[in-house]
């Protein structure tokens, strides 16, 4: 049996199903579902007997196939013939979509890949350090969170999650700091802004309380009903 060796090269249940369809020269738009289900289950059996790690997704598709098969066995009700949906339709759509991407992946692989087919120059002049404003290399947040994960891997779990509320507060604090750096002082009402939503008002208020507690800002009021002015407290 030629196909045993091929079992572990399937990229997933859809890949296996496509292989069975091609191998048996089946029209993908009219899949004989009973036949293909039998073939599919047969392959799963072989995979099991070879002790291959059978991912849950393979079993999920098996149950989908069996479900479609049972639906197709039901007699078609004449009264509904107008809108009768083929129970295979969704599966076929999924197979075609997957097939498209599988082909696309093969085409991508055929391109002239850097460091595989083509190479750039090895010229590496001495590193010179220069001062001044420089742009940053493209860096992704993935690297940031990965760096964080590495250093906190020894710390307890609960320390690891970021808290959306705390982050919103930090955002608002940062915005206020940004504005204060430019405008020196801002009135309380300015900060709250006009027509902003409740959420912004609440976080602004919380941010100001937090910033006062942390002595990041100072608030002054000329008289008891006067305008409240906010200043930076930190000597930056």
């Amino acid at each position: 049996m030629g196909y045993e060796v091929k079992l572990d090269i399937f990229e997933g249940p859809l890949d296996l199903l496509l292989y069975l369809i091609k191998k048996n020269e089946i029209n993908i738009y009219d899949i004989p579902i009973a036949f293909i289900t039998e073939q599919y289950l047969g392959h799963l059996e072989i995979m099991k007997s070879l002790n291959l790690d059978l991912a849950g997704e393979y079993l999920l598709l098996a149950s989908t196939l069996i479900h479609i098969k049972s639906k197709m066995l039901l007699p078609v009700q004449e009264s509904e013939e107008e809108d009768e949906i083929d129970p295979r339709e969704e599966l076929v759509r999924q197979l075609l979509e997957y097939q498209t991407f599988k082909e696309t992946a093969l085409n991508l692989d055929k391109r002239s890949l850097l460091e595989r087919d083509v190479f750039k120059g090895g010229y590496s002049p001495d590193e010179e350090l220069d001062q001044g404003e420089k742009p940053f290399v493209e860096v992704s947040v993935f690297e940031l969170v990965e760096a964080f994960r590495k250093i906190v891997s020894t710390v307890e779990e609960e320390l690891l999650e970021i808290n959306a509320e705390k982050m919103s507060l930090a955002d608002r604090i940062n915005e206020i700091m940004e504005r204060l750096a430019e405008e020196k002082d801002i009135t309380f009402t300015d900060l709250l802004g006009r027509g902003t939503n409740r959420r912004v008002v609440i976080y602004t208020f919380l941010a100001i309380l937090e910033m006062m507690k942390l002595r990041m800002i100072r608030a002054y009021q000329a008289d008891s009903f006067g305008v409240i002015r906010i200043f930076l407290a930190v000597e930056t």
Partner: protein, 173 residues
């Protein structure tokens, strides 16, 4: 400016990543973009005509010298390393990310019919894919897209240069 072609040639030569016209302009000062572009296209033609061991290509929004396609085997011999290869799983995941970006992981899982965690993480580590933001739906799942390095490695000027996806045929009833 005299010698503009030679200057640009040397700049592209020493740059680690594809050099953009904007960057060249930043260095040369008051030179029109058009003049720079013309000089580069002149150079490209020259290299092509000479059948040199390397050529000037437009990639990832900039320009870079690269060895000729058909000489890869010789260079592999010099480098002494096995050529970098992508697993089919990585390539399929990358294809979905490239064509469907910005895309959430659940959608890639659905299209490929498997859990793509492993291959997606590999792509993030190789800097071919990156997190680009969050989708504005409950749970705010992460969205993924491709990087500039993806363009560089796959020899693409920009994303619009990706060959069009074979259209999904409409299902006939």
């Amino acid at each position: 400016m005299k010698d503009i072609k030679a200057i640009i040639e040397s700049l592209v030569f020493v740059s680690d990543s594809p050099l953009t016209i904007d960057k060249i302009r930043e260095i040369l000062g008051e030179v029109e973009r058009e003049e720079i572009r013309e000089a580069i296209y002149d150079l490209m033609k020259e290299y092509e005509g000479r059948k040199s061991g390397f050529c000037l290509v437009e990639v990832a929004g900039g320009f870079q010298f690269r060895t000729r396609d058909d000489l890869g085997d010789w260079i592999q011999k010099l480098k002494g390393v096995k050529p970098m290869a992508f697993s089919p799983a990585a390539m399929e995941t990358l294809a979905v990310v490239a064509y469907r970006q910005p895309v959430v992981k659940a959608e890639i899982d659905r299209i490929r019919g498997v859990d793509v965690s492993g291959s997606l993480k590999g792509l993030l580590e190789k800097k071919l894919a990156r997190m680009v933001g969050r989708k504005d739906v409950p749970g705010r799942p992460m969205l993924y897209g491709t990087t500039k390095k993806f363009l560089e490695v796959f020899n693409l000027k920009d994303l619009s240069e990706l060959p069009t996806l074979r259209e999904l045929k409409e299902l006939e009833k």
